[in-house]
Structure formats: C-alpha cells, structure tokens
C-alpha cells in the first residue's frame, strides 16, 4: 500500500530518561499499513531549523478496544536537532509523518524460533515484530543490550507477549556486563543450523557482529541498518549500503527501498 503523509498531532510524550522518549502520533492510517521493520519519515511542522525529514522506525501501533489502530508511537533518542525537538515536543504539536516506508522483516513461524537482537534505540522495530511473531505463535527471544539498566525500556511489554528476555549492559548494572552478542553467541551454540531466525537492529558494528555470529552458526539473519536518509523513498541515493547478492559483484543499494531490512549475510560491512 502506498505511503501516506499525515500531519499528525502529538497525543502524548512519555520521557523515559534524559535521552529517550516515546511519542504518540495520531497517524492511525499509517499504523494500519505498517508491517514490522518499516519506518516513517518525520518532520516537526513549522520546524525550519532543518529542512529534511528524519527516519524513525514505527515503534508501537496503538489500538482501540476492538484492535483498530488509532495511533503509532516512535521511540526517540536524542542525537541532534530533530531528535532534540522530538524529545521536547508537547501534546498538540504537529509532526508531519510520511510512511510506512521500506522493506519489513520477514516473520518466521514455528518450528523456527525468532531471536531479536536490539542495541539501544535499535529496540524500536521489535515491538511490532514481537506482536506479529506472538500472533503467529513463534517462540521468541529478545537479546537486548544498552549502556545501563536505566536504558532498558519496555521490558514489561515483551514479557507480556511471552518473549524471553536476555539482557546485557555495558556497565553491568543489569543483565550480563558487556555486549549483547556474547550471550547470543553462547546461546546459538546449542541450536541446530537453520533453526533460528535472527533479527538485529542497532549500531552498525553490532549488526556486523551479529551477522558474523549468525553466519558462523549457520542461522539466517536479517538486520535493519541506519544510513543517513535524505528522502526515504529512493529519490536521492544518499542512503546506500554495499550489498552482495550471491555471486554478483557487491554494489551500493538504497537502504530506504531495498532495506532498511537486509539479509545480514549479504551486507558488505565497511
């Protein structure tokens, strides 16, 4: 279904920490169309400090009692001009929201298991993915790493869906100390090749590490990458990443339309 441009209203802004917040946006129609892993291109209306929109994963699809989407949320982490503005947004503010865009995750079902690997704000696409997996009855685990325990969000949500949680923090304040790829690597040792679909989203070095671990254990792997995007629709060629399909030569593809979700084995990491 084609993307829509919705002049959404901020319905709520829940600040989770000094850097993270969740914005609820009245973009029900986008919610209806979104599949897990897709993103929206966002621009606070009237904000003219920046020109271009910014990409954000659709975090949650908020539904009414009968399950009809009434809003979407985005999980925002402060990184610069737009994300600071989104952090400070107040209910009633308007935010232009174009989407859904991009290639979604490929959901698997039992007997395959689904293991999601999130680093920091890379958690964003996994709320909707976990719902889809839960609906399909796929056994699901979330490996979730962050700087500290205070930056592990939304655990209840995944818990309620029956998702197994494996946590890691850089400072060791919660879960295992260090990178989330360590427990992932260990856990994969006991899984039969091809039995576990691995989904990853987070900083690119983490994605590269996950793809390597998955490859070593012969598990399929999809990663969602974050390249600087000018348009989100394939118009500008700014968002490229090097990809190798089978025996073809590696080439730059536009991560906004060929991705953001890619087969982890096909990406040629910088």
């Amino acid at each position: 279904m084609p993307p829509l441009d919705v002049d959404a209203t901020v319905m709520a802004n829940r600040r989770l920490s000094r850097d993270y917040n969740v914005l609820t946006l009245s973009a029900a129609e986008i919610g209806t169309r979104t599949r897990a892993g897709q993103f929206v291109m966002v621009r606070p209306t009237g904000m003219t400090e920046t020109l271009l929109r910014r990409p954000f994963s659709v975090f949650e699809i908020v539904r009414d009692a009968r399950g009809a989407p009434i809003a979407i949320t985005i999980l925002n982490k402060r990184a610069g001009r737009t994300t600071n503005r989104l952090y400070e947004a107040e209910p009633g503010d308007r935010i232009a929201c174009l989407g859904p865009l991009g290639r979604p995750f490929t959901a698997v079902s039992a007997p395959s298991e689904a293991w999601m690997v999130a680093g920091g704000v890379g958690l964003a696409p996994f709320a909707t993915l976990a719902e889809a997996l839960a609906a399909a009855g796929t056994p699901t685990t979330l490996f979730y790493g962050a700087r500290s325990g205070q930056e592990l969000f939304h655990l209840d949500f995944f818990d309620r869906l029956g998702v197994t949680l494996v946590l890691a923090t850089e400072d060791g304040s919660r879960g295992e100390r260090g990178r989330v790829t360590q427990p992932l690597d260990r856990a994969l040792a006991s899984r039969a090749p091809g039995s576990t679909m691995i989904y990853a989203c987070g900083p690119e070095p983490m994605l590269a590490a996950v793809a390597e671990v998955a490859g070593r254990h012969q598990q399929p792997c999809e990663v969602s990458v974050e390249r600087t995007m000018g348009c989100g629709m394939g118009g500008c060629y700014s968002c490229v990443i090097r990809v190798r399909h089978g025996a073809e030569a590696a080439r730059f593809v536009r991560s906004c339309i060929s991705g953001p979700v890619f087969d982890g084995a096909e990406i040629v990491w910088d």
Partner: protein, 312 residues
C-alpha cells in the same frame, strides 16, 4: 474555472511547468505510488553514463542552513539498463521523460544521446555538464565556454531530440554559457545545478561527507539561482528551465517571472513527495486571484520598476 498552465519548450508541449529535477526523483518509478507521473510537466531522471557507476561511498549528504550538500557521485545503472528496464514503464505511465545525460568525454555524451534517441519514449535530453561531484567530465565542460560548445554541438549532430544543456552556477558569467549553448544549437538551457560547497564536522575536524566537496541545493541558493535565470533570460532567446530551491507556487512564479519557461523541483521533493499537486494548486490559485488565464503570460513578466519604501 480551469486555468491554462501549459508551457512550451521548443517543440515540446508540457501540461504544466513542473519537472522533477534530475537526481532528486530516482528514475521516476520510485514515486509511482504517490505521484501521477503523467500529471507532471516532466520527469528528469538521474544522470546516466554509458555504463553503470557506483558513486561515492556514504555519507553522501549533509544538511546546511536552508539547504543540503550532496555528493552522490552519479551512481546509476547506465543508459542501456535504463532503456531496457525503466523507460518502457515510464512510457506506460505517460510520463514525459527528460534524461540527464552524463559523460567523461564529448564522445560519451554523444554515445549516450544516440542510445536514447533510438529508444522510444524520451522527450528531451538534458546534458549534465555541471555536476560538481565527479572528477572527470561534467563540470569541466560546464566551466569552459569551449567545453560547453563542444558537447552541445557534438550532441546536436547526433540527435533529433530537444537538447537542454544544464548549466553550472559556479562561474563568473552564467549568461555567456547560455549564449554558447544557444549558439551551439541547444533547444533550451536549464539552470542551476548545485553550488560547490563543503561542511566540516568541527568536533572530529573531518568532512561531513566522504567526498569532502559536494553540491549545495535547496532554498538557500534560490536568490542566486533566480538572479542567474534573469541574467540568462536577457541574453538568450531559447527557453530556460529554472531551478534551485523551489518549494512552492510562490517560488515557481519567481522563476517564471524572471524568465524561466519551466522549472524543476529537486530538494523539496525529498521533504514532501506530494509537493507537486500543492504547487499546481498554488499556481491555479494565483492565476485565479490575479485574473490571468494563461500561466505562460507570466514568463519573463518581471517588472524592474522599484517598489516603494513606504508600507501602506
């Protein structure tokens, strides 16, 4: 009441003056779901060489005040794949296709133009002699009057299609380039391509984009682009396609009044892919408010009589 928005570039009749700018609209088909391609004046596709090009490593863009710098490096599928894979689909959709022709040598411009002239469904060739982002070709022709003449006259001999050299703003006297293009047989000129620019990340002291230098586009450059269109309009008889920072009907009118027959919209399409119908509605509204029947009556209608200092 419906107003007449059509404009004419040589033998080409366009239903309205809005053309998607090269490099800002992919090969057009990317926007198929959100824009009726046949409703645009034209679609100018990403620059094409004879063969595929990989372009520069990312990051390729950075935002600057009211603008952006890009150094894509003309990533593209090459003219043959374009003709095979994209052109038939564009034709089906009724798009008027402008192809942005690139080359590292005069011969390559000629070759690419020949391939396109033999294909069905190309409306015009825009000769990209102004891309600031590649080492060879492009701007090296666009910054020399002889280079400009050489490319234009060589392509002129090789095609029956309308040819539209695209001029760079990175020169002292852009009108002299428009004249050189006209003299060499161009059917129209388009301007401006981007301004050579650079932005440094002061925290790392390194470039913000891999290529270090890139091209500045967006509203920031509009006042310079309007000036250049106006200068060219006073010097040449062939139609001018104006661009640089257009975001709405007002901006479009500014270029038309300065002497442009049509315009291209680039950066603004990134911000809002639905910009096209909004601009068309704005143009209709302007004609309505001012009681003007034909948009083309406004081409070059700028009146240099000074305004008053007095606010009423």
């Amino acid at each position: 009441m419906a107003r007449d928005l059509s404009v004419r570039i040589g033998s080409l009749e366009l239903p309205n003056p809005l053309i998607a700018a090269s490099g800002c609209f992919g090969y057009g088909l990317e926007y198929d779901e959100v824009v009726d391609l046949s409703a645009l004046g034209g679609v100018c596709v990403k620059g094409l060489f004879m063969t595929e090009r990989e372009g520069h490593p990312p990051p390729r863009i950075v935002e600057t005040p009211a603008g952006m710098i890009n150094a894509i490096g003309l990533q593209g599928i090459g003219v043959h794949r374009f003709v095979r894979e994209k052109l038939p689909l564009l034709r089906e959709r009724g798009a008027r296709v402008f192809v942005n022709v690139c080359g590292t040598t005069v011969d390559e411009y000629v070759e690419v133009s020949k391939v396109l002239s033999q294909a069905a469904g190309v409306s015009a060739l825009e000769l990209n002699i102004s891309c600031p982002n590649i080492k060879e070709g492009g701007i090296q022709f666009g910054c020399s009057l002889m280079g400009t003449s050489a490319v234009v006259s060589a392509v002129r001999k090789a095609t029956h299609l309308p040819i539209i050299p695209k001029l760079t703003p990175n020169v002292t006297d852009v009108a002299s380039f428009a004249r050189a293009a006209e003299d060499a047989g161009a059917d129209a000129v388009s301007l401006v391509n981007t301004f050579l620019a650079m932005a440094i990340d002061v925290e790392t002291r390194r470039p913000t984009i891999t290529n270090v230098l890139g091209g500045l586009s967006g509203p920031a450059i509009r006042p310079i682009a309007v000036r250049m269109v106006w200068e060219c309009a006073q010097d040449v008889k062939i139609p001018i396609i104006g661009m640089g920072g257009i975001t709405n009907a007002r901006d479009t009118l500014e270029f038309l009044l300065a002497g442009a027959t049509a315009v291209q919209i680039g950066t603004a399409n990134f911000v809002d892919p639905f910009v096209w119908s909004k601009v068309l509605a704005g143009l209709e509204d302007y004609l309505e408010r001012h009681g003007i029947d034909r948009l083309s009556d406004l081409i070059g209608a700028f009146d240099p009589t000074p305004p008053t200092a007095v606010h009423a």
